[in-house]
């Protein structure tokens, strides 16, 4: 029964939130902490913090954590399936409908306008992220390098990310070596 509850609780969170990420935190707190008592507020914030610094979708990572804490690996899998289930159903239906109407001139006009709004949103999120993440010359160089490597040399984002991880490790060990010498 707990498996069904895990599935339903996370499916509910999936249905009720638009946008994921930070938008999902209040819903998770209400459903998982307050209604179900499966985690404390502090644990939820910890899961979020770890979710942000591990690969993948934050909401999915949080579901995996809570599910694992309740019922081990099967619980983790069931909770994760719960949170992705509404997306699969809703998007599949919508994608089918939109594909049918995609050649309609009005739909095309609407999407031409929507694309402008989406461009603006991405630029604004780049700006917001940059204000937090660009803290010194080093981080500024990394951000510029990420853009330049793609636009000029066509390097894949996966390779760039792998290089950035290696660079981060390099910075860490250089820093430790200097600490030891001092």
């Amino acid at each position: 029964m707990i498996y069904l509850q895990l599935f339903l609780a996370f499916a509910k969170v999936g249905v009720m939130t638009f946008g994921g990420g930070m938008a999902m935190l209040p819903m998770l707190q209400r459903e998982i902490v307050k209604n179900r008592g499966w985690a404390t507020d502090e644990e939820m914030l910890d899961y979020y913090a770890i979710g942000q610094c591990t690969p993948g979708i934050i909401a999915v990572n949080t579901a995996t954590f809570v599910g694992y804490k309740q019922k081990g690996v099967p619980g983790a899998v069931v909770a994760t399936l719960g949170i992705i289930f509404p997306s699969i159903v809703i998007i599949t239906v919508l994608a089918g409908v939109l594909t049918m109407f995609s050649s309609n001139p009005y739909v095309q006009k609407a999407f031409a306008g929507i694309r402008i709004a989406v461009s603006a949103q991405i630029l604004v999120s780049v700006y917001r992220l940059a204000r937090k993440a660009i803290v010194n010359v080093n981080t500024a160089v990394v951000a510029v390098a990420g853009f330049v490597l793609q636009i000029l040399l066509g390097v894949s984002p996966i390779l760039i990310t792998a290089c950035a991880i290696a660079y981060g490790l390099f910075l860490y060990f250089i820093g430790r070596k200097n600490d030891a010498a001092a």
Partner: protein, 172 residues
């Protein structure tokens, strides 16, 4: 074979996209280019739909791309591919590294990765903007949207998408 490819492409995206929803966008652009499954314009529309429907954006995007490539089985396989690395990594952290985020080495690597996401995402913006912004009218609309989003921080993205649709119908 197609479903296996789809799973693998999304598995890689799930493994390398760090920082949630929007962080998957640069990887999806490259996926479209490499596989020919979808173009940048289709991806821009998928982002809009994913932002305007319930559920995490990254999951919605995977479902949408998967459906576009191979209907319902594609939607399921792509989404499972995206979340598989998360499940594995989070389980490993739950079992072995409860204080994972407090390790100094993790903090240093993350500082670099957070900066990198900005560069990657700016390139994704550049690609969508080249398609969306074609004349003076669209440039003006874009400027208005940027100012609105900067000033009205609390407004949900879905509002801007609906406004974009209305303005598109009236003006474009």
């Amino acid at each position: 074979m197609l479903l296996l490819n789809l799973f693998w492409e999304f598995f890689k995206t799930g493994l390398f996209a760090i920082g949630g929803g929007m962080a998957t966008v640069p990887f999806l652009f490259r996926m479209g280019e490499n596989t020919g499954w979808f173009n940048a314009q289709m991806l821009a529309d998928m982002i809009a739909v994913s932002e305007s429907t319930p559920g995490p954006i990254g999951v919605n995007m995977a479902t949408y791309v998967g459906f576009t490539v191979a209907q319902i089985p594609g939607a399921i396989v792509a989404t499972l591919g995206l979340v598989a690395p998360s499940i594995i990594i989070i389980l490993l952290i739950s079992v072995f590294l409860s204080n994972f985020k407090d390790y100094p080495v993790v903090k240093t690597v993350l500082t670099v990765l957070r900066a990198l996401v900005i560069g990657l995402l700016f390139f994704a913006f550049y690609q969508i903007a080249t398609i969306a912004l074609v004349d003076v009218k669209t440039y003006i609309m874009f400027a208005v949207f940027v100012v609105l989003a900067l000033v009205l921080k609390k407004v949900h993205p879905i509002v801007w998408i609906l406004l974009g649709a209305v303005l598109g119908l009236l003006l474009l």
